[in-house]
């Protein structure tokens, strides 16, 4: 006899589901596709979680009310969110810190150093892999069975349950899972929490063509959407735009997969960005960097060869967190252009036009929307526009670095997967990136993926255990 509950996946949402189901008394088997050293999916690369709170906390100064959280979500998604699920997530987020602490999570305390604690997010000590480690330790201690290198390729149809109707294809049950080895494991309920499909370049090409060959996948190579495909094959209803992904500007030298946070380029507001033709294409000083860094991945994806180049000079060197790779360095803008493989005269002309368009008399202030701007330049640089005139000049070649995809399956407030016909499956649940698109259909809120994953992981684990034991 198989376990009560199979959790497919091994990141934050999967672990939250497995721990919750186990605590509810279910016999739980967690199937992680990655080997042990790569366990945890993209949670390995996270570092903080967004949560609502009425009162300031030692590790999160200032209150962050559900209402404000909701406004932030509406702002970044343009209102495209399932309101019921969104409100549920934000409400439940208030209970996350205490729950996480009970699973062994420690918080990062305020330092005199570089980390600025956030009002809206809690930072866990040691980052995402440490969170993953704590959750696996807790799960193992509770008696969750864990298998690594266990890749689920299909969900077996368990037939229609008593109340189901054949007409709408709904009300079906899942009977268990099929691994890539051909092994079948039967169970009473399945929680799918195996991430998105960003690491399947062929799948990305369906929407992006050969441009996808130039994308970097910032996270795990194991998020190839196998479980998403299995869900669709069983009749689950898709949600989210398959073309959409979250992406940042990454160092072009980043590894194809799993380069993590350290290849992110934070230099953009401090300089100018040109494309392969040596031309500027977007306002580098549009908004404060934390509010805009997430648009640059997509902007670069739309440039020739999906490549762009940021250039800055000695005046601002060292004012932002560097990439893990050293910046290119040259005595003039033309030499830097040549180092980056660009037409030196085109770049020199772009820099000259930019320098000439800067309004004089501005006061540079990287912590605010300052009054250093260009006039009469297209596109403009609205803030932090300093002339590129002080050697050495520095530059990075940049590519699109995909963080996650938005495509998923529709779920109910009980984390039940909804079928194409609109009826929930009887014993199939989803949590994490593979259903986050219900709530965050586009845009980005730092630490919100973990919020959705933990909230729905807990719901899915509780519901799956309840179903399996009823």
């Amino acid at each position: 006899m198989g376990p009560d509950v199979i959790v497919v996946g091994g990141g934050n949402a999967a672990l939250a589901a497995a721990i919750t189901a186990r605590r509810a008394g279910a016999d739980v088997l967690l199937l992680e596709r990655a080997p042990l050293h790569m366990r945890g999916g993209n949670t390995r690369h996270t570092r903080d979680i967004r949560f609502a709170h009425d009162v300031p906390l030692p590790a999160a100064p200032g209150a962050y009310l559900v209402e404000e959280f909701f406004e932030d979500l509406i702002r970044v998604t343009g209102g495209a969110t399932n309101r019921e699920l969104a409100e549920l997530t934000l409400r439940e987020s208030m209970t996350l810190p205490a729950w996480m602490e009970a699973q062994g999570i420690l918080w990062q305390r305020a330092l005199t150093g570089t980390l600025h604690l956030s009002r809206t997010n809690l930072f866990f000590l040691g980052g995402g892999k440490q969170l993953v480690n704590a959750y696996y330790d807790t799960a193992a201690r509770l008696g969750v069975r864990i298998r690594y290198d266990a890749s689920v390729v299909a969900l077996s149809n368990g037939g229609a349950h008593a109340g189901g109707t054949a007409r709408d294809g709904g009300g079906t049950r899942v009977g268990g899972v099929v691994l890539d080895s051909g092994e079948r494991i039967a169970c009473r309920a399945v929680v799918a929490a195996a991430g998105g499909f960003e690491a399947d370049v062929a799948w990305l090409k369906e929407y992006w063509g050969d441009a996808a060959d130039n994308f970097v996948i910032r996270g795990t190579p194991h998020n190839t959407g196998l479980v998403l495909r299995a869900l669709y094959a069983l009749g689950a209803k898709p949600v989210g735009d398959p073309r959409e992904f979250h992406a940042t500007a990454c160092d072009a030298r980043a590894p194809r997969f799993d380069g993590g946070i350290v290849t992110r380029i934070d230099a953009i507001p401090f300089g100018i960005v040109v494309n392969a033709r040596g031309e500027r294409f977007y306002d580098e000083g549009e908004e404060l960097w934390p509010k805009r860094y997430a648009i640059w991945g997509k902007l670069i994806a739309q440039q020739p060869q999906q490549t762009a180049f940021v250039m800055y000079d000695a005046k601002v060197h060292g004012r932002f967190i560097p990439s893990a790779f050293p910046a290119l360095r040259a005595g003039s803008a033309g030499e830097l252009a040549a180092l980056m493989g660009l037409d030196a005269s085109a770049v020199t002309a772009t820099v000259a036009a930019y320098n000439a368009a800067i309004v004089s008399g501005g006061t540079f202030d990287p912590s605010a929307l300052d009054d250093c701007a260009t006039r009469g330049l297209t596109p403009p640089k609205s803030h932090w526009a300093l002339p590129l005139d002080t050697p050495p000049f520095y530059g990075y070649a940049m590519r699109t670095g995909i963080t996650f995809t938005y495509l998923g399956v529709e779920v109910t407030a009980g984390a039940c997967v909804v079928s194409e016909g609109g009826t929930p499956f009887e014993n199939l649940y989803a949590a994490g990136e593979c259903m986050a698109g219900n709530i965050l259909s586009r845009g980005y809120l730092a630490g919100f993926g973990l919020t959705i994953g933990t909230v729905f992981g807990r719901i899915a684990g509780k519901e799956a255990a309840r179903h399996a034991r009823s």
């Binding site: 050293h37 390995r44 690369h45 570092r47 062994g104 420690l106 990062q108 305390r109 330092l111 005199t112 150093g113 570089t114 980390l115 930072f123 000590l125 040691g126 980052g127 995402g128 892999k129 440490q130 480690n133 330790d137 590894p255 799993d258 993590g260 946070i261 350290v262 290849t263 992110r264 060292g318 004012r319 967190i321 560097p322 990439s323 893990a324 790779f325 050293p326 990287p366 912590s367």
Partner: protein, 371 residues
């Protein structure tokens, strides 16, 4: 300066850390590294000794081998620490002897044993060496009082001088700032409380993650060592000031302190050896492991031989046990400036520098220069 290849590798790995910064809550090393964009040999010596080897950063790092970034800060810094001990060891030729720590230490102990026993037998004869002795001055009927006292003084003076020479060279290389009482106070607190073996609250990554075993065992060894040291001091006072010759009665200050210290050292060292054998070897440096085991073994043997000597001091085994105990002490003293023993000296100086840097950066950020 440390080996240039090691410095280049440290620079490479820390450039990953400085772009990530997830570990900065664990200890002082990461905030200190973030304050630097280029690393000289002195910087690596500083960071290496600031590291208390809790290894939580290894456990928390998504970029450890087999990831192509191959980040392994605890191993890198442990290897650099072994280079520190050799590079700053004085005299240099002597420090190089300890490139083979276990064999070097054992050779010194064996040589010392031969010399000690040889001298004892030559002056007092074989029969006296293997005979039981009792009453005040019993030890000195086997080993000459003058030789023992002058030998102990010479060894102590040499050890202190060698450690001081190393400390001065190290302080110069890492750029230790001028004396500042608050920095020394903070460093002293951090050293005694072993703050950075707490992993920012997470503990150590040893036999399991979040372990506090090493901090506990280290405490046994450290306080045991201080008790043993106090025992020796008390014995010196009884003998040279009060004129009471050893062996001292069981309920005397030197014997009680010695027993407490010896048992604590033995328990702590044995605990650390077991802990080490059960810990993940991945974040460790093989060279440091050898230094660790060597030092722990010598300490444990000194404690064990001392306790045995106490138990059997009125028997015919006293001469042999005293010879072994003294030979082990000679080895401990002579290797101290270049082996694991010396770690606390370089680490303390690094803590002082860090405390000073933290004060400076705090006043800078208070001034509002932080963007």
């Amino acid at each position: 300066m440390l080996d240039p290849d090691a410095v280049a590798e440290a620079e490479r790995q820390f450039s990953v850390c400085n772009a990530c910064r997830y570990c900065e809550g664990f200890c002082a090393v990461f905030p200190a590294a973030e304050a630097r964009t280029a690393f000289a040999g002195g910087d690596i010596a500083y960071l290496a000794n600031l590291c208390h080897d809790c290894r939580m950063c290894f456990d928390a790092c998504p970029f450890t081998p087999p990831h192509e970034y191959a980040v392994n800060i605890p191993q890198l810094l442990a290897a650099a620490r072994t280079q520190t001990y050799e590079r700053y060891g004085w005299p240099r030729a002597f420090a190089r002897l300890l490139r083979v720590p276990a064999a070097g230490t054992a050779s010194i102990a064996a040589l010392a044993l031969v010399v000690l026993v040889g001298a004892a037998v030559a002056s007092g004869g074989t029969a006296a060496f293997f005979a039981p002795h009792a009453g005040p001055g019993a030890f000195y009927r086997v080993f000459s009082f003058a030789a023992l006292v002058s030998g102990a003084l010479l060894l102590t003076a040499f050890g202190l001088l060698a450690i001081a020479m190393g400390a001065v060279a190290f302080a110069r290389d890492i750029g230790l700032p001028k004396f500042s009482a608050p920095a020394f106070a903070r460093a002293t607190h951090e050293a005694f409380a072993l703050v950075y073996l707490r992993g920012g609250g997470a503990g150590c990554y040893d036999e399991r993650r979040g372990s506090s075993s090493r901090r506990l065992m280290h405490g046994f060894v450290f306080w045991g060592f201080l008790a043993a040291f106090a025992s020796t001091t008390a014995a010196g006072i009884e003998q040279d000031v009060l004129g009471i010759l050893p062996p001292f009665p069981l309920l005397s200050v030197p014997v009680v302190l010695g027993v407490v210290g010896g048992v604590a050292i033995l328990a702590g060292a044995a605990g650390l050896i077991v802990l080490k054998s059960r810990s993940d070897p991945a974040p460790q440096s093989t060279r440091m492991i050898v230094l660790d085991y060597t030092f722990l073994a010598v300490l444990a043997l000194v404690a064990l031989s001392g306790l045995l000597l106490l138990a059997l001091r009125s028997t015919a085994a006293m001469g042999s046990l005293l010879g072994i105990h003294l030979a082990l002490l000679v080895a401990l003293y002579l290797t101290a400036p270049y082996g694991k023993f010396v770690h606390f000296v370089y680490r303390y100086l690094s803590l002082v520098k860090h405390a000073q840097e933290a004060r400076t950066s705090q006043s800078a950020s208070n001034g509002g220069s932080h963007p």
